[in-house]
């Protein structure tokens, strides 16, 4: 499938080889959508990540996984079996022409195949190998299985998500995967910057557990500085320390997040619902904010009032008074939101073989000169075998033989 590129892109001179499961797919997408030529290496027949739902029209199929679609935009795709000596030879030849490898294999397994960093860098000293592991390259847990829920549990994110009355809760959407993918990409780009000065690549080793532990804001700090073990406390923010009330109030039609500003007391009073909140010492005495009884009282009155309004009315009217409240949106509301629409966040991407265009989540940043863009939809299994292996000098006949032998 042809690519579309009508403007320069920041990483268009960079070649990436991606050998990744869920932990590394977003890392590859980040680089691909900024212009890097990312060649995804899948096992013959396709990777297991193609079996993750939901699926287009709910019909499970390796070319219909919305999970796979989302995380593999702008990438090229080859199939390759690293179990075969021919496959390993091809991988080595691809790696010789690669700037960055993103790989998520179990520690030690690439080395066992003769494809570890030292071996590949011997042929390509500029190579930046980005190894994304669950727990780091060695250590007691390094061979553990770690889907996202293990990552958020072991990094300390999950202990502070949820309510005391319920089990700890896994945040929606695979956030341990995102944490390590983003930070691995940062590591790879730092190595790329260094390579610009020295000409030499290096081995970047990211740990999902460490990436999560680096991203939990208050919990580690309360323990380091005050020996306070902050655990899940509902929607309350970690800055406040433990306490009984959160940041989410009910509205007529859902919920509003009330972090970032005292309630509009004049407005509440006009509607006869301010109770004793005007002039209450709670607003001026920080100690009272940790008093369970007082904070429950204040929160209760606030919630009783927000229940009488819609979340959008509260949102806009409070923002007009510099009170930074915001509605708790469903994804449908996100998609319909006028601000998100006005900034053209969602982008339409063509799937020619389905004769359809679909809306994708768009750019995490808007670059003035080198815009983010999805150059094409996620690749089909082995879609670019001819082009990529052809560029290595393999003929159609050779490729057919390799396919029959289960190498590609």
């Amino acid at each position: 499938m042809a690519e579309t590129r009508d403007h320069p892109q920041a990483l268009e001179d960079i070649r990436v080889l991606e050998l990744a499961d869920e932990k590394g797919l977003y890392c590859g997408k980040l680089l691909a959508d900024m212009g890097a030529q990312v060649i995804k290496v899948e096992r013959p027949g396709g990777d297991p990540t193609r079996d993750i739902g939901p699926f287009y029209q709910d019909r499970p199929h390796r070319e219909r996984s919305l999970f796979f679609w989302h995380y593999n935009t702008s990438k090229q795709d080859v199939t390759l079996s690293l179990e075969t000596p021919e496959g390993r030879g091809l991988f080595r030849r691809l790696a010789a022409k690669t700037d960055i490898i993103i790989e998520t294999t179990l520690p030690g397994s690439l080395e066992a195949l003769g494809l570890g960093y030292d071996s590949l860098a011997a042929d390509n000293p500029g190579l930046i190998m980005t190894s994304i592991t669950s727990f780091g390259p060695q250590g007691p847990y390094s061979q553990y299985k770690a889907p996202d829920i293990v990552g958020v549990a072991m990094g300390g994110m999950m202990t502070v998500c949820g309510e005391p009355e319920t089990p700890p809760v896994q945040p929606y959407g695979g956030q341990a995967y995102h944490a390590v993918s983003c930070q691995a990409a940062i590591g790879a780009l730092i190595a790329l910057y260094a390579r610009g000065l020295t000409g030499r690549g290096q081995h970047v080793q990211a740990s999902m557990q460490a990436a999560v532990a680096f991203s939990t804001e208050f919990t580690n700090l309360w323990w380091i500085y005050q020996k306070l073990n902050l655990k899940r406390h509902g929607s309350r923010h970690g800055a406040s320390g433990p306490g009984p009330v959160g940041n989410i109030c009910h509205t007529k039609d859902g919920y509003i997040c009330i972090m970032g500003g005292n309630p509009p007391l004049d407005w509440m009073e006009r509607e006869g619902l301010a109770g004793d909140l005007k002039g209450h010492p709670y607003w001026s005495n920080p100690a009272l904010r940790r008093d369970p009884q007082v904070s429950l009282h204040v929160f209760g009155l606030t919630d009783a009032w927000t229940r009488t309004h819609s979340k959008m009315k509260l949102f806009h009217a409070c923002q007009a008074q510099q009170i930074n409240w915001a509605p708790v949106y469903s994804l449908e509301e996100v998609h319909a939101d006028p601000h998100i629409q006005a900034r053209d966040f969602f982008v339409e991407i063509e799937h020619p073989e389905l004769g359809a265009r679909f809306e994708y989540p768009g750019a995490p940043y808007k670059f003035g000169e080198t815009p983010w863009s999805i150059r094409r939809r996620a690749p089909l299994v082995g879609e670019d075998n001819s082009e990529v292996y052809g560029a290595l000098g393999l003929s159609k006949e050779e490729l057919a033989l390799l396919a029959q032998a289960g190498v590609i």
């Binding site: 993750i52 989302h70 727990f135 780091g136 847990y141 553990y144 829920i149 549990a153 072991m154 990094g155 300390g156 999950m158 202990t159 998500c161 319920t166 700890p168 809760v169 945040p171 959407g173 695979g174 930070q183 730092i190 910057y193 260094a194 610009g196 020295t198 290096q202 557990q209 460490a210 532990a213 680096f214 991203s215 804001e217 919990t219 580690n220 323990w223 380091i224 500085y225 902050l230 929607s235 923010h237 970690g238 919920y255 997040c257 972090m259 970032g260 708790v328 994804l331 449908e332 996100v334 939101d337 006005a342 679909f358 809306e359 994708y360 989540p361 995490p364 940043y365 670059f367 003035g368």
Partner: protein, 404 residues
């Protein structure tokens, strides 16, 4: 060699978390981050999580964690003389980053067009909550508000409870990652072409792709995602969740996806009689009877500590883990220790302290927490004197006039 980014200089107007967490990556790898703080008060989080609970602008554990290795200068930005000093600093910097709402940098004459006049290849990153354009561009935001707007709050929690979301500002991190990526990618482009550029980063938009699968289920299939607690939408798995363990509010997680994992799980539990019940025979059957299955699993986990569950199940090839709490991670976790995650560094007022170290390792340029966070205005003399070349008398005059 020194840090990978040695020689790179960033003028950093950001405060609180999103912006500072993005420049933290650069500071750890050797970039010189000149943090511009409002004279007098400084970054508003300077007194969050006070060390040993003693007050002081230089005693905040939170600020210390996020701003280690940076320099601090103070400026009264409302004063035109302060703005003039910044205009003299800009040509010496590679990147200018802010996380103000639209309008503030313009008011100081520091919008991209002006910055570019001062240094043609400048990279300017605006890391605001909602972005520079659009109807909410002027709206204020904190992490939890952006999380609410993104849908992640609505979708995190149990279906029979109100939404709960995160217990902290996760979107400040996701915005910070995107900010670091933006700066590094713009640097790569500048190296190749000599051109700088402006980047408009909306923290909300940096977070939204992390709900991408749910958003596509909506745009492609028209399905509205709902809260599912610890169960996985779109990917059948059971058991999958958090289970109570022995001890006071102790928890583990277990995730079983494939038939082989289910068999291994049953073996690990000593093949209890219920494991062969037809209602648990396939993953679809188990998903259907998840509540009952979870109760049976919890009977088993309840007699064990989280670490016992993890070690035992993982030795059988089943994904399981302890729900680590901060004291576990900092004082005990052998794996983070093996990774060398926790490191010590010196702070001029707080002394030697423990820090979250590198979340990723670079083999040749490993990065380091070189020192703790700067005292408020600690580097005024260095930056205005050595870098800008002001005389000690000029600096004293600016201090007296409350400009710096």
């Amino acid at each position: 060699m020194e840090g990978a980014l040695a020689g790179l200089r960033v003028l950093d107007f950001t405060w609180v978390l999103a912006g500072p967490s993005s420049t933290r990556f650069l500071a750890d790898h050797g970039a010189q981050i000149i943090k511009v703080e409002q004279r007098g008060t400084g970054d508003r989080v300077r007194q969050a999580v006070l060390a040993d609970a003693k007050p002081g602008v230089n005693r905040g554990g939170y600020f210390n964690c996020i701003n280690r290795g940076k320099l601090s200068i103070t400026l009264n930005m409302g004063d035109p003389r302060a703005q003039g000093l910044v205009r003299r600093l800009v040509p010496l910097c590679d990147i200018v980053v802010d996380n103000f709402r639209p309008g503030i940098m313009e008011r100081w004459g520091l919008d991209y067009e002006n910055l570019r006049r001062l240094r043609p290849d400048i990279i300017a990153l605006s890391l605001s909550g909602m972005g520079r354009t659009g109807p909410y561009a002027g709206y204020g935001s904190f992490g939890p508000n952006l999380q609410a707007l993104s849908g992640i709050t609505y979708l995190t929690g149990f279906p029979w409870r109100d939404p709960v979301g995160f217990g902290y500002s996760y979107s400040d991190y996701t915005g910070g990652w995107a900010g670091a990526l933006a700066m590094l990618q713009a640097l790569h482009y500048r190296r190749r072409t000599g051109q700088g550029q402006f980047v408009d980063l909306s923290q909300l938009e940096a977070l939204l792709p992390m709900l991408g699968v749910g958003l596509m289920d909506l745009t492609v299939n028209g399905r509205q995602a709902t809260r599912a607690g610890n169960r996985l939408p779109g990917q059948p798995a059971a058991p999958h969740g958090a289970y109570r363990c022995r001890g006071d509010d102790q928890w583990c997680v277990i995730a079983v996806f494939t038939p082989a994992e289910w068999e291994a799980f049953c073996r690990a539990l000593g093949n209890p009689p219920w494991a062969v019940d037809p209602k648990f025979a396939s993953v679809t059957a188990r998903v259907q009877h998840q509540d009952e299955l979870d109760r049976l699993v919890e009977e088993w986990t309840g007699q064990r500590t989280p670490d016992q569950v993890m070690e035992h199940l993982q030795s059988h090839g089943v994904a399981a883990a302890a729900v680590r709490e901060a004291p576990d991670l900092i004082d005990r976790d052998p794996q983070l220790r093996e990774f060398g995650f926790w490191v010590e560094a010196d702070h001029p007022e707080l002394g030697r302290r423990l820090y979250e170290g590198m979340p990723f390792k670079l083999s040749e340029t490993p990065g380091a927490v070189r020192r703790g966070s700067p005292l408020l205005g600690e580097h005024n003399d260095l930056v205005f004197g050595e870098l800008l070349g002001l005389s000690p008398e000029e600096i004293a005059g600016l201090k007296k006039a409350e400009v710096i």
